[in-house]
Subunit: 491 residues, 3 copies
């Protein structure tokens, strides 16, 4: 690992190779062979997709496809376009944000179909594949992508695939244990999706700590275009979040409430985010990072009680509360974690998923404690699986199980994340040097105007350099010369 | 209000404060407290979302959620992404277009749930909230966003919230009166949505008249990127407009026809828009503003007769007619209104919503006059609520009611808009100075490359300056110096 | 046709007029009058959209609208936004890619409603229009847009309309013959959509061969922004491709399988595309063109067997196989075709639709040969229309019919494409000069910053000029002077 930085006009830096030419195909082909073998041996069609077990005449439109496909499509848009655009907010890492999201998501879903399928859709020796598996697998995928947010710009695609490879089974086991034994209420995935993903990601980034980046990085900036693209991602997530939170609830009024609560929660958090963004800025201006992230907090905070009869007003309050916690987290907690606890949380997932997930979980517990047959009618026990007659739990006891689920999930995910982080440090995985972080040129053939944008970045922003002020001034010269030649040839 | 413009190299202009630091949070928190109180006191679940009144076993998929949610989701995309991108067409006001649309839309819907809910979904002392309310509230939101188009780039977010605060109840009362007493046919909202929104917006902009901006503004330009983003917005509106026009029709063949007519009308207007755009341009080139706006005219013109048996050919003709009126409006009417009537209609809503709304209303009247049981069968009276037996109106009489609805709506909205405009002139609301219009720097923390784009705008476009040629040449120097320092430091 | 290229500082090039001022309106108005007449004479409502034939009370939600509309909406997104963004990948041809796609798609659908409607939805002397016609017409539209990919940047909008005018009927006849007489299995349109579109497009581009462009073109480059926009288009296509492939299958488990197979095929081809992209690049970096195109190959390769019981593992394998063929095609076949066979395939449709369509067709044949009642149950004959009892064909015979369909489709489309190409050479159609290819300025009023982007392109990329190095150096001087004046006025 002998790094050798020699700065000078005639010398080039010697770096660890980050060529993907062998690494990426090698890993992918091994994974694909594995997946094909497992698909061949273990995956068959769900009854609803099996020609022999269905009759097109009799139960045509009762096929689960028609109950679930539109929700699946909405979540697809969130995963591939919403996340993809949201993560493209860096000026020089738009390809990385959008394209690595694409790669990681695609692999995570394939892998989750197998691993999660084994725990949830396995019987008669086969995993039974239908559109419902796909929705569940997309949820696992969302977990991986949230964790990805913690290390955005600082990991190679090979590392991301390895992270997904490890995170998916750790999550699937946790989910299976929590759902099977603790029987928690968590339709929107506040505990299992958001908290798990957050602490897993924080675990990874804790191990991958880069001390040089704590003072900022010259390329850790947005551009006017990238900020707008990222807002588009936010809007796609915002618009389809009701589908996300309601996709796996019971059909009927439960799903209906989940849609309403999510919409109200998001509305409240959006309005609050604008107010707080202006209030906490010393010039009284709005910050795009707040618009991109904090507006979404309400979607998480209603998660664990999203199908309960919590009342529209409570959903509104949860939106305000979640947004406030998230905003204060971005303002005060993230810098603290970065400086003092070696946790460099690139996208602030601890604020948008951790703090809000915690609030959501507590709200879910309250919803269980206050649930009564007077409000819910006879189907109360169906809505809260933990208090079904057979188990003999009271609502109070179930509340304790929810707390246990929270602590258990956080513990498993944090430890799992740290172990995964250790694996990601293996040299073969093409981890970028500090200087090449947030830079698309490392892993992409960039178009020719990219050098021009780099030159602009170095010159325009040169007054605010933290780390790399010295080193990048050399790039600056080089980058500048390119531009100068281009523009100045005729002077 | 003592403005003091002193131009010079060493002095800075003294301006009214437009900091949002106190204003925006103050307004938002007051509104949020109000909303939470009203939600707590008055909002409960619709029967279809109430656990006690539903049984998941018996009437699972008959829940109104499944009839309406996909249409709701489509309209969400139109509101947040379609409008958001469409309004981001200014080179230096992309944040403002997209983000203020987000803010205004979010607040409008929350507010409409309460205000419109009081008129339409209120019984037993409660507003009953279901997905159908959300669709209706999104329609109110569309009204506010169309009006927003008239004052785009010239209003602060505080002003926009106040505008929504006033427009929503004025619209809700008008809608209630027109629907309850006049019982008009207007599935696509040609009168109530498009004409109301248009004349309200024109009323506001009439009062907010800025004489200095009549000769143009140096920042009133698009960029290559912003033009494309805006076309994306158009495409999202285009694609989902059939859902918009059909969301509130009767289910079954009525909704089916609404989809077909909207699609045909849009297709015809798109093709016509391309032809007219080239024909009316002296170099025979296409104009992006036409592609962004005029292509959509057909969606409005089929609105009032969208669920009637007008025939596909008539829908096609309406598309061509609406497009032609809209295009001529942009070419001749908008400049006339701006010069002679103090109406500065920034996005040309009078062309895309006013003129086309008028045509749509007339077409709706024709559709009623020519409706017969021979064509519609026994359900004719259900399709045209005005001629139901109990009311004792003939089709001819109902046509007069439609005319009355048009004039009444235009009168109320224009007056309401002017009164709202007066309120928006209150100094506290952070209205931008003339010079800061169409400029994201006023209300946003812009990324560092923004100054570079400003410099480019000032230099490249400096030959076409109208207003602000003198003043912005100073900015030009300043902006240039930043760039020069950036690029030139090493020379 | 006297072209006169004289290069020099004081002279301008004399070119054929490409003004759209007369040509485009003339063509459009003729087409619109034709369409209105045909709509008036021949188009009425489908029974599901006819007020007299429907009763809103009894068969409300059984209207075909509710079975098909969501699939239609998904395909709309693919056509207008997916294709539109994907084709906007050129740095200076973003308007052209996105906007000409809009124009061509809109016209193609209107025209297909009539032409295809005559073959498929015509009875009692009328074409019966419902949402199902729209889906079918969008498929025809997809055919035209794929062919458009072969000549992107080298054709005027007038030429594109004429191409659509000719391609739609040639396709409709072919489709009718193949479906009616050969009764092929091809739910995803591998043969009829992808292969037809591919060879039609190749036929057109063969005739429109431009020898000067074989060495590259200075404007044939992407930009950082355009590459990202294009990936967004890819993602929209990726996300909704399951809807595309399943829209016209039988409802129930058939449609369910079509969704699953498409999703799996796309996932496999995406993962493979990343691996191969890195492997085939000498620096081991990812190429955005691969991410934009090759990832989608799996959606095509599962097409002809998408509703069969081929097993998830086989769908996965088809994805890998299709992706590999597509990637190798881009790397080796496209340059070969361009150099040796006069086939300049701008977007590489031969790789993404031709090669993959071939693989899909062969896979479809295998699926038919291996189909048995043991796997499919009694409805096997419904799934494979060719082996219905009345026809008396065996599965082996039907396989031969599939082969015949392939050859027939390729032959008709290639000849049709070449004839269409000849028509497109008529001078009136405003074909761009070689130098004006890939340049939005020819057909659009471009915003002022466009000149700046052109200047940047000429200067930054000037070291890689092929054709036009000499001529554009003059532009470079001019373009530079604009920038220099802008930036340099204060030096």
């Amino acid at each position: 690992l002998g790094k050798c930085f020699i700065y000078g006009n005639q010398t080039k830096m010697k770096k660890n190779s980050t060529s993907l030419r062998v690494r990426l195909p090698a890993l992918v082909f091994v994974l694909e062979i594995l997946i094909v073998i497992l698909y061949t041996l273990f995956v068959t069609y769900d009854n609803n997709a099996n020609a022999k077990l269905q009759s097109n005449i009799t139960i045509l439109m009762e096929n689960s496809l028609y109950r679930n496909y539109s929700f699946f499509a909405d979540i697809q848009v969130m995963i591939f376009i919403g996340f993809g655009c949201l993560l493209a907010f860096f000026r020089l890492y738009g390809f990385g944000g959008m394209v690595f999201n694409f790669l990681t998501a695609t692999f995570s879903i394939q892998w989750a179909i197998l691993v999660q399928g084994f725990f949830q859709f396995y019987w008669d020796g086969k995993i039974h594949l239908g559109v419902l598996n796909l929705i569940n697998a997309e949820f696992v995928c969302a977990v991986v992508l949230i964790s990805f947010g913690a290390v955005l710009g600082k990991t190679s695609p090979v590392q991301l695939l390895v992270m997904a490879l490890l995170e998916v089974p750790i999550f699937a086991v946790t989910e299976w244990a929590v759902v099977t034994y603790l029987k928690i209420n968590d339709a929107g995935g506040s505990i299992l999706i958001h908290m798990f993903a957050c602490y897993f990601g924080l675990g990874v980034t804790f191990v991958l700590y880069r001390p040089n980046l704590n003072k900022g990085h010259v390329k850790e900036v947005t551009s006017y275009q990238s900020d707008m693209l990222s807002v588009m991602g936010t809007l796609f997530l915002w618009v389809f979040w009701p589908s996300f939170n309601s996709a796996l609830t019971l059909k009927g009024d439960d799903q209906h409430r989940a849609v309403l609560h999510t919409f109200i929660g998001l509305s409240a958090s959006t309005l609050t985010a604008f107010a707080l963004s202006a209030m906490l800025n010393k010039n009284g201006k709005l910050t795009m990072a707040d618009v991109q992230n904090v507006t979404l907090a309400g979607g998480v905070t209603v998660g664990a009680s999203v199908d309960m009869m919590i009342s529209p007003a409570a959903a509104y309050g949860l939106g305000i509360l979640g947004c406030t916690a998230c905003m204060l987290g971005y303002k005060y907690l993230s810098p603290f974690l970065s400086k003092n606890l070696r946790i460099q949380d690139q996208c602030g997932i601890n604020n948008l998923h951790g703090l809000t997930g915690l609030i959501a979980s507590l709200a879910g517990i309250c919803a269980i404690l206050f649930a009564s047959e007077e409000v819910y009618g006879p189907k109360l026990q169906k809505l809260i699986p933990g208090i079904e007659p057979g188990l003999g739990r009271t609502a109070q006891e179930q509340a304790l199980y929810q707390v246990a689920a929270m602590f258990g999930t956080v513990a498993v995910s944090a430890v799992g994340g740290m172990l995964t982080g250790l694996v990601l440090k293996v040299p073969f995985l093409a981890s970028p040097d500090d200087e090449s972080c947030f830079d698309d040129e490392l892993f992409f053939n960039v178009p020719k105007d990219y050098n021009y944008i780099v030159g602009l970045t170095n010159s325009v922003d040169s007054d605010t350099l933290g780390f790399m002020a010295a080193s990048s001034s050399h790039n600056l010269h080089a980058g500048f010369m390119i531009n100068k030649n281009g523009f100045g040839a005729n002077i």
